[in-house]
Structures are given as C-alpha cells and as structure tokens.
Amino acid sequence: MITKFSTIAATLCLASITSTQALADYPEKKIDLIVGYAAGGGTDVMARTVAPFLEQYLGDDATVVVKNMPGASGQIGVTATAQADPDGYTIGTYNLPGMMARTLDRDADYDADSFTYLANVVDDPNVIVTPKSSDIDSMEKLVAAAQERDGAITVSMSSLGGDDHFFLIRLSEETDAEYTIVPFSGSAPARSALMGGHVAMGIINLSEVVNFRDELNVLGIATNERSELLEGVPTFTEQGYDLVNGSLRGFIAPSGLPEEVEASLISAFEKTYEDPKFQEAMLKSGNPISLTTGDDFQALNAEQLELAERVWESSPWK
C-alpha cells in the first residue's frame, strides 16, 4: 500500500517536474509586444514600462520587444495580435472600451473571442471638469443648467465611441438631460478648449487632470471609491449618480494560447504588478493602476462589450 502510494506520489512529482519543464521552456525566443499606437503615447508608455518587468519575471533571459503598429486608433495593432500564432511569442496591448466598440461601428477582423485575456493593468476613471472661472462648480449646478434647455451644455471630449462618450451617454440617462457633444481629436485639445472657456464642461480621465488641478474644477470621479490622486473629489456614486466608468488598458494574446504559457504570462504580470518599482514608474507616468487578470479580465471585457452594445443600440455614434 505504502509502495503504491509512493509510486503515485513519485508519478505526481514526475508529472509536476515535466510540467515545470514545459513552463521553463517558455520563453525560448523573443516575445513581440504589439502596441497599436505610436511610440510615446499613453499605451506605448505603459507597454515600455511593463516590458522590462515582464522580462525579469518570465525569467530565463526572456526578451520582450515592443513593436509599434500605429493606425486606425489601435485597430491595426490589435488585429495583428488577434491574427498572430497563439504560441505566446506575440502579445499585444488592449484598450477598453475602444477595441470592443470598434467591433460594432466598423468591420473589424476580430471579436471578443479572438483573444486570450492576460491582464488589465490601467484603470483610468472618467472625471467631469469645468473651467476654474465657470459658475458651474458642482454636479447640482451642472444638472440644473443641463435640464434647463436641451443641449445647453457643450461638452468637450476626445473622441466618439470611446470611454468618455459612453460616460456622457450614461450621464445623459442618469441626469435626464441632453448635452451637446463637441468631439476633439484627443484629450489634450479637449482640455485646452475647456480651459479657454470655449465649452461648458469636459469629460476627460483622471490621469489627464492630475497636472491641471489648479486650472480646473473637478466635479466628480467615476469610481466606486475616492482616488488618492485627487484628494477631496467626491465620486459620482456618493453624489447620487450611478456612474462608474473609465478607460482600461491591458494586455492580451491571440485566443488558443497553451494553458501553461497563459499561466506563466499571467503570473509574470501579477509579480510585475506587485513590484513597488513598477508601481512607482506607473504613478510617475500618471497611470492609475488596478490589476484584473485571466477570467476576470475576460468578464470585464464582456461587461464593456455589453455596455457598448447597449449604447450603440440606443444612440449610435455614427
């Protein structure tokens, strides 16, 4: 009996050794990390900050090479990742809700099932801002002004079909008012138009307001709990509006990734996230971080897709 037990134990041991060996085999060559934007953008900076930590935690002298494939708001890059061989040697950056919204408003060559969801790293919540000189410095005043006349409030934001747009549609539902959308190309021009007083309010992200605290009124932040980066700014939930939304940035691989490769990548992302040096680097680049991995990330994606579909059906943005 004892011998039999020990055989089983030995077999188990052996099995675990072989599986660790399979793990140890990965990675045996360089890993391409596809970024769908040009070098120097927010997503690119995240990828380049993560890359050296991934190399360290994947071990075995792993090399992660960042490859920029800019164009079509990230769609070219993410399509390339979706169509790559699922061997763990091509991974890519992923943006929500943008990448899912593209499957609705364009002919995309990928869908929610095209990916293995590795880790979402950045969660950059939406904020509502008004110019410092504006009379509207609270949600109460904003809603009152918006309800007075349809379209009375002009809203600058970075694009159509992005997190800020979805946020606005939810805001419109929550506050029972119509807003006038003024879509700029990028958050910085949207923020500048606001600072110049050319529009009444702006929807941007937490990371884009941190360096402009003295120039803007922040009326609320779309998170469940208040953020350390913006002290004294209440959440929308505590002001009575059910608004939790933001821009998410993470990492994906093509679907059908071998399980042990997926596990080793996810564990490398987890260790990266725990590393204080990584947290410091991300904070310095103004990225609010929050980790969601594997199945949870996939669920998060499904949730975002559902929201996008709902918005697309009720008020298509094109």
């Binding site: 920029n68 494939m69 079509a72 700029f184 190309s185 500048s192 360096n211 402009f212 120039e215 680097a281």
Partner: protein
Amino acid sequence: MYGSLIDALPAVLSLGNFAAVVLGVITGICIGALPGLSATMAISVLIPFTFGMDPLVALGMMAGIYNGAMYGGAIPAVLLRIPGTPAAVATSFDGYPMAQQGRGGYALQVSVVSSAIGGIVSAIVLMLLAPPLAKVTLLFGPSEVFWVAVFGLSAIVFLLGGDVLKGLLSACFGVFVSLVGLDSISGYDRYTFGHLELLDGINIVVLLVGLYAIPPAIALLEEVVDVDTSTAKKLNTTSLWKAFPSMLRFWKTWLRSSVIGVFVGILPGAGGSMAAFLSYNEARRASSNPEDWGKGEPEGVAASETANNADTASALIPALTLGIPGTAVAAVMLGGLMIHGLQPGPMLFRDNPGIVFGFMWQFLFAAILLIVLGGALATNSFAQVLRLPRPLLGAFIITLVLVGVYSINGRMFDVYLMLGFGFIGYFMDKLKFPLPPVVLGLILGGFAEQNLRLALRIGGGDWTALAANTTSKVLIAMILLVILTPLFSRLSRRKKSESTA
C-alpha cells in the same frame, strides 16, 4: 522661474548632454537634407531608444534634430527644388531660381543664418514667455482657429502662379486629399475604401515626397546626356562671414518672420509649413519689388527659413503647458517627454524644472550651433551632391524616398500611395500645375473643416457664433485686409493710368 532657468544651465553644459545636442543638429541637418526623411520620422525612430537614456541626453538630441532638420530641408529645396521637409516648400520658391542663377551657395548661407535667427528667437521666447503665451493659445478656440486657417488659405491666392484656374484646381486637389480618413466629428470613414491604413488620413510627408521628389528624380533620369557635373562650382560660395554683412538688410524680414513663426507655433495644429507660407507672403507684400519674388529674391529664402525655425521651440509652448503640440514634430517630442515620465501641464515646470528648463537651453544651443555646423556642413559638403552624375542622383533620391516613406509607419501601403502621388505629380509638372497650393490645401483644408464644424457645434449651428468674440473679429478684419488691399491698389492704379492717359 527665471532662477530655475539659470539653475538648469550647468547640467546642459555637461559633456554628454552638450554632445547630444551637437550630434542631434548634425543628424537633423542630414535627415532634413535627404528627401523623404523628416524630423518627425527621425524623432519617432529615436524615441524607443531613449527609454533607457538620461532625459537630457534624449531631449538634447531631439532638440538638435528638430532645429537641424528645419534648416536641412532647405538644402535640397534650393539645390534641386525638392523640399527636404514640408516646411521647406516656400524656401524653394526663390532658393531654386537662385541656384539656377549660380547663387545657390548664397541662398544656402541666407538659409542657415535665417534659420539660426528664427531658432534663437523662438528658443528665447520659449524660455521667457511660455506661461503667458500659453494663455494666448487658450484664447484660440475652434472658431478662432478656423479663421486662422482661412487666413492661411488666403495665401493660396498668391501661390497660384500664372494660371489661376490651374492653381485653384491644385488647391482643390489638396483639400480633397485632406478629406480622406475618419471624419472625427461624425465618426464616418471618408474615401478609405475599407483600408484601415487610410483611416488616419494621408500623411503630409507621403504626399509631399510623391509630388515633389518623384517628378524631379524622373527628370534627372530622363535626360540621358550627362551635361553639367560642374554645377557645384556654380554655387560660388564665399566665406559665411564675408557674406553675412550683405544679409543685414533682411533685418525687417527676420523680425517679422520670427514673430509669425512664433505665433503659428503656439497655435496647435498649424505647423512649420503654414509659418513659412504666411511669412513668405507677408514679406513679399512688404517688399518694394514684389515682382522679383519667385525669380531668385534672397529675402524670400530668408522669410521662409526664419519662420520655419521660429516655430520649432514655440510649438513646444502649448505642448509643454497644455499637452497640445503645435506641430507634428512637437507631438512626437511630447511622446519623448512622456516616455521619461514627464507629463505636460503647469505642474511639469514645478516638478521637473531641471529637465524642462534644460530642454529649453538645448533648443537655444541647437539654434546657435546651426550656424557653425550648418554653415560648414551644408555649403561645403552637401552642396557637392550636385557633382554627382544626374542618373546616379536620380536613383539615389528614389531609393531614399522609398526607404523614408516606408519607415513612417513601417508599411508598404504608404509607399504605394506615395508612388501614386508621384505619378500625379509627374503629370502636374508636365502640365504646369503649381504644387504649393496642393500642400497648403492638404494642411489647412482639414484643419479649417474640423474647426469650423466644432465651432458650429459649440454655437448650436448658429453661423454668427463664428464671429462672436473679439479674437475672431480681429482675425476676420485681417483676412479682409489681406484679400481687399491688392484689389483696391489695382483699382487705384487703373484709375491713375486712365487719368494720365
């Protein structure tokens, strides 16, 4: 604030950081001088490598490349009528005729001195006036920017050349090209035919290279007879210091063009080409002999080159303070800052004064270095390209252009697109359609359209909203002045000639 400026100086003068600027300026001149390679491209290629570098080394190289390339673009514009960068289009108007008259060397010297002056003024403005000028940028909302674009478009009238109809057709072609891509306001794709590569619109470099570099390269190959390889002698270069006193008469143009360059720089989205076009126009209008312009007037070269360098450092004012880059190059440089964890905004000046003010010093040094490095490099070595046998030169240009265009986004699609524009450009050249209106149409067409639509959205569809505030009214008055003055002067001249008759 000015204290931090002085504090930042020692670090900039350290050997490594200073060498980075020198290296950047040399690289920039070479890149600008090679048709098809642009500063935007060079800096975006550089950015990934700077990730591990000391910020000031990386930024110093970028400052050097930016300034160097803005001058470097003038070299082929003068010698071959192929602008090395989009901003050098206006330089070729008078630079190339000068080279044909055997004054190419002088044209290059005027370019280098004017570039340096524009760059120095711009750097000083950046150092001393960044925060107040950022407030000026904020005054320009969509309706104001729309009027600036219209003001720029009014310059087309002067670029039409002999045949007004052909000129207008060229301009329309440029505006049409600007329509391609995602319409950022409605979200619809326009003329993309399902190609994702076209969603972001057509890159100005792809169009410029196709229209400007391919036809002359073909022309070089067409002429089988290898005639004049001694053209380089015709450059007639004298020492820069001997040539300098004769340039002092351009001081008014230098001053005016610097102001225009700085102003265009702080407006987001316009860029060096618009600065150069506007300043060329203004200088011509102010000139006592406007009829000589376009036939080899050195002041035209001075106007264009001063302005396109004067917008380099000033384009960083909105980039650093507001996160909105004034030019495509400034946009890429902003990426270079972000990669070092430097987020634009008012806090940047407080949190990282050493780096921000160091970066500004580097702009100033890069501009000054232009005279030394640009003077020596350009007149003595780059001008020698004209000694090359013509078929070799043609082949060399085509190779460079193919590599350059491919490297913008790393895809063949852009190369095919560029060759398509080359095909169009070849026939435009043969049929004597002017090229500058196409460039201006592409740059300003989309710019005007987007801002007009944003302004109308803000105004709730009411057209009077476009002229609602003082800034807009001043701009409209300026536009009317520019368009109507020539008409009135023509009328009065006609009356005079009638009365004398």
